[in-house]
């Protein structure tokens, strides 16, 4: 005798077209729910790290490089940024400032086959630094002039060497992932950067100068009002744009909220369409199998067992469809996440395994709910209609 399980599988294989349509509907709904959820999770994961990763209250960049600095910081677009005069000393003398550290952004150039071009080099002073050192457990205060620290997405391992501006650097450490442009950046010490900028070979780019600067990271005293300080700094410094990290983060959060709300609206429509389509499909299939259900009831099979057979059939299809939808989205989104990161131009970091598992459970839960709503009429009919009505022996 066939068990409800075998009965359900037989029905799936026998009604291939209906099963395929059901599978496609659930698969598409799952792909949309999972895709939107995964994208929003990755954005939240990236933005959640920004404040902690920048580690400064204020950022000062040359006014003419506003966009380039933001692109380098959040999207990892390589660029060279230079202050006409390094304002670090001037800023550090102002009231309310507790820590100041300079960073120099250089885009690598291809002078020969041995130089790697188009990468973002960031020079920092390990002695005054209060940001980069936070992203690693290793001590990088004594970073040598021929050593570099690389971002998590640079694809380099500790000990590998690379040539920039005619000098060979060895990877001393790999930083934790931040979801920001820092992941694609390479960090060197100011001593190494000074050797490059002071070199006559690159005089046309840097004018043989030392201690050039692109970005000043500022930490304020604990009691200082950042907004007021930012305004007073802006008045005293010419050609300098100041950004409060908090306002940068809230700007990013509002952009992420826009994506979240759009995704929520899309999800709502997908769920509504899936409920209507599955309800129609299940109800039509029930009417096609009415006589069969009536016959099963007539031979003494309980109503509960018949409901179980129907439910198992659709449950297997729902689980298969959910798996297929999530699988297809994962096949595209996970390998191509670097391209997505560059396209969104915002901090974007693959969410952790826990977040991913929760999202998969949520999609499964929503699909099961859709299934229960769609099956409701069919189950009510099975539980309430007389066998004679089902077999159409009575009008």
């Amino acid at each position: 005798m066939l068990t409800p399980n075998q009965f359900a599988w037989q029905s799936i294989l026998k009604n291939r077209f209906c099963s395929l349509m059901f599978l496609c509907l659930v698969g598409i709904a799952s792909a949309c729910l999972f895709g939107v959820g995964f994208f929003n999770e990755n954005l939240s994961s990236g933005i959640g790290q920004v404040k902690g990763r920048i580690g400064a209250d204020l950022i000062a960049v040359p006014s003419s490089y506003d966009k380039a600095a933001k692109d380098a910081l959040f999207a990892g677009d390589a660029c060279t940024i230079l202050f006409p005069e390094n304002p670090e000393a001037q800023i550090s003398q102002l009231d309310g400032i507790s820590q100041v550290s300079s960073q120099l952004y250089l885009k690598t150039l291809a002078f020969s086959c041995c130089s790697t071009a188009g990468l973002q080099l960031i020079a920092f002073d390990p002695k005054t630094d209060f940001t980069v050192s936070k992203w690693t457990d290793e001590k990088i205060e004594n970073l040598a002039a021929d050593e570099m620290v690389v971002g998590a997405c640079c694809g380099m391992k500790q000990g590998t060497s690379m040539n920039f501006y005619g000098q060979t650097f060895k990877v001393a450490d790999v930083l934790d992932e931040t979801g920001m442009g820092y992941d694609q950046s390479i960090f060197i010490s100011y001593d190494a950067a000074n050797q490059i900028t002071a070199s006559p070979e690159y005089a046309v780019y840097f004018g043989e100068k030392q201690n050039l600067s692109s970005m000043i990271l500022i930490n304020t005293d604990s009691g200082s009002d950042i907004e007021t300080l930012s305004k007073s700094l802006g008045r005293s410094l010419n050609g300098v744009s100041l950004y409060a990290t908090d306002s940068l983060v809230s700007e990013l959060k509002s952009q992420a909220d826009y994506f979240r709300i759009s995704g929520f609206v899309m999800d709502a429509f997908v769920i509504l369409l899936a409920v209507i389509a599955l309800f129609a499909l299940i109800t039509i299939t029930f009417y096609q199998r009415k006589k069969r259900v009536g016959s099963l009831l007539s031979v003494g099979i309980s109503r509960g067992k018949i409901v179980q057979i129907f439910f198992l059939e659709y449950l297997y299809l729902t689980l298969l469809g959910t798996g297929a939808g999530i699988g297809i989205v994962s096949v595209f989104v996970i390998p191509l996440h670097q391209i997505i990161k560059q396209t969104v131009n915002m901090p974007y970091r693959l969410t952790n395994f826990g977040g991913l598992a929760l999202l998969i459970l949520a999609v499964c839960g929503v699909n099961l709910l859709i299934l229960l709503i769609s099956c409701s009429l069919t189950f009510t009919k099975i539980l309430r209609t007389e066998p004679a009505h089902l077999t159409e022996e009575m009008a």
Partner: protein, 135 residues
């Protein structure tokens, strides 16, 4: 399922072949780069997949079709390992940003679809045998 799967894998291999030679082409320098070499190998694998699909449309022999499903699954898996033949050191280079992820996606899709087709044939055969024995 079998014929649909062959059509889909043929389409994926054509699209991937075109992509790795146009929008997702590898890095190109003054000297031959390792990623160009591995992309060349991936190109050959994609052409072999396409040819095996075309042949399975022409040769209507069940065993041959199953064999092409097996080879396509293995070749799809091989596409995932093309970076092992040589790639650029830095992750932000074009080959690691576009070419290899594109090959990973197409490899996963080709291997997955061919494997699903193979399993469906085997399940069908098993069910057929059971029905036959029952009769």
């Amino acid at each position: 399922m079998k014929q649909y799967s062959k059509f889909i894998t043929a389409l994926i291999s054509v699209i991937s072949f075109l992509l790795i030679h146009t929008a997702c082409k590898p890095c190109h320098g003054m000297m031959a780069m390792p990623c160009e070499h591995s992309t060349g190998i991936a190109g050959i694998v994609l052409v072999v997949i396409l040819l095996s699909d075309i042949l399975s449309f022409i040769v209507k022999h069940e065993r041959f079709r199953q064999l092409t499903s097996v080879t396509n699954t293995l070749l799809g898996v091989l596409l995932l390992f093309t970076p092992a033949f040589g790639q650029c050191q830095v992750a932000s280079m074009a080959c690691r940003l576009r070419t290899f992820p594109t090959l990973t996606v197409s490899g996963l899709l080709i291997a997955g679809i061919s494997l699903a087709a193979l399993i469906s044939v085997l399940v069908k055969r098993q069910t057929g045998r059971k029905t036959h024995a029952h009769a």
